[in-house]
């Protein structure tokens, strides 16, 4: 367990604000955050995860093309030997305002372990990740989740 996560915004997506805040939030509770930033390809994510032996990849997609950009992500991870890695995705994951259940299923089918709707607070994701990785947050030894 490396307590390392890879963070980034996928595809041609330039939305940087949420990414900076997620970085800040995960770092401040003690995760090691490898932030590859906006406009990142599947390969960028996977390379970073392989290099750093990451436990999880957190993909953001805000701009609507997530559905196209995320296809085959899980398969590509497996090809690169990341068969155990947790995949989270969040943001505005489709074009337009769609039924959340449909959107969630879409990404679950693509192999994402958790899928987050618009307006998710970092705290929610931190709690989930700690649970999925069976980490005791207080042992990571940083500030409290707010």
């Amino acid at each position: 367990m490396s307590n390392t996560i890879v963070l980034g915004v996928i595809g041609s997506d330039c939305h940087a604000v949420g990414n900076k805040i997620l970085d800040h939030a995960f770092s401040s509770v003690g995760f090691k955050v490898i932030n590859i930033g906006v406009l990142s390809s599947q390969e960028d994510f996977i390379n970073a995860a392989v290099e750093t032996d990451a436990d999880a990849i957190l993909v953001s997609s805000l701009y609507g093309h997530g559905e196209i950009d995320c296809r085959g992500f899980r398969e590509k991870c497996e090809e690169e030997g990341l068969s155990e890695i947790l995949l989270y995705v969040g943001g505005n994951l489709v074009v337009g305002k769609q039924e959340w259940k449909t959107v969630e299923n879409l990404y679950k089918k693509m192999g994402f372990n958790r899928v987050y709707p618009p307006g998710t607070s970092p705290a929610a994701a931190i709690t989930d990740l700690a649970q999925d990785l069976k980490i005791d947050l207080s042992k990571l030894g940083k500030v409290k989740v707010s």
Partner: protein
Amino acid sequence: MMLKNKKWSKEEFFRVREDVLRQWETGREIDWDEAAAYLKNVPEGQNFCVKLAAAKTEGRTLVQPRAGVALLEEHIELLKYLQDEGGADLLPSTIDSYTRQNRYHECQVGIEESIKAGHSMLNGFPAVNYGVKGCRKVLEALHLPLQARHGTPDARLLTEIVFASGWTSNEGGGISYNIPYAKSVSLEKSIYDWQYCDRLVGHYEEMGIHINREPFGPLTGTLVVPCISNAVAIIEGLLAAEQGVKNITLGYGQCGNLVQDVAAMRALEELAGEYFASGGYEIELSTVFHQWMGGFPEDEAKAFAVIAWGTVAAGYAKATKVIVKTPHEAYGIPTKEANAQGLKDSKQILNLLCDQQSLATKEVETEKEHIKNQTRCIINKVLELGEGDLAIGVVRAFAAGVLDIPFAPSQFNLGKVLPVRDNLGAVRILEYGNLPGTKEAREYENSLLQERACYEKRPLSFDMVVDDIYAVSKGTLIGRPGRR
């Protein structure tokens, strides 16, 4: 390529043009003379410059939506709806993000997937893939002026296509469509490419064809301090003017404090006028106010309020036009109905407001002078760094952090500046980084921030910045601890 702020020669332009038109197959459809002839025949009512000039004379504020979908027929239907049902005064075509990154192959995938899915899988209209034929179809189906709105560092082919299609305005600029929209495109490249786009306008102007240009004012849309966005807007205006652009709309994204917003818009217009005059450019200047560009509340009734409050500011700022958000903003690309609702909410506010007293307060005057002074410091420092050349100055200024856009993704942005709201909700500078400015101005802003720290009984910190980023979406202006 040797960047400098100098009008391109015909030779350079047409040499580069050959490559541009080869970037994607639709480029080949463009014929210089035929395009000019087509543009000359665009009805007056569909010319952006004409409509803006009329609004300015009448003192009206026009409303314009953002809108774009993947499929041509659907896109036309959407714009028609916004024109006929929404009551838009000006129309956009918002371009999808693959086009913005010049990934036309992926656009093609997006178009095909959209046909399969039965709804748009792209976040905008892939104008390059549709080419002149498609884009003219859009124009001809409508009776309002049409503008390309995007976020494209290299928009040369797109620009060629939309102008040849009779669209009479183009949004963007070498800074505003790079730093907030890209990660690793150099400013040398994007400014150079936007000189091309502007030179194209210049050529058309020489032929008596009037085309409007609009630098993208709001940048990252997230707590951008007025002096920074105004500096960038004026600089991009000057760069465009040098290439022969005659009709410019400068923009500003709402910060949320009415006094600051009105002051910022007045400062922008006045200062731009000064710089154009001293540069010897004769420019027909208009302004655009962007309703709140940061995170929106999810609740639609609350979103309507944010839209309305933005329009109040646009109205008091006497903006020539206002760019309108929708009640779907927090979720995704709006339906045409939601988009029309944003227009109607906005228009109703403007109609209630337009005949009323202007906001003539001492506070607005003070704030305006403050913004002007800060903006002048920045622009003059940029010129100094460029040893008189504005384009070179911009490149060096970003490297030095003299220009620095909060929260921008570009690696060419220093990212040291940190904004935060003061106790009245105006956006101020918490961390200056290397931004130029007078000691007095800093002390003034700092005292304002101390007021907030005192009031909230907590230190100024990044946590406060984060609270402010979330605030509007959570229903307030200032990110106070424990506020509903």
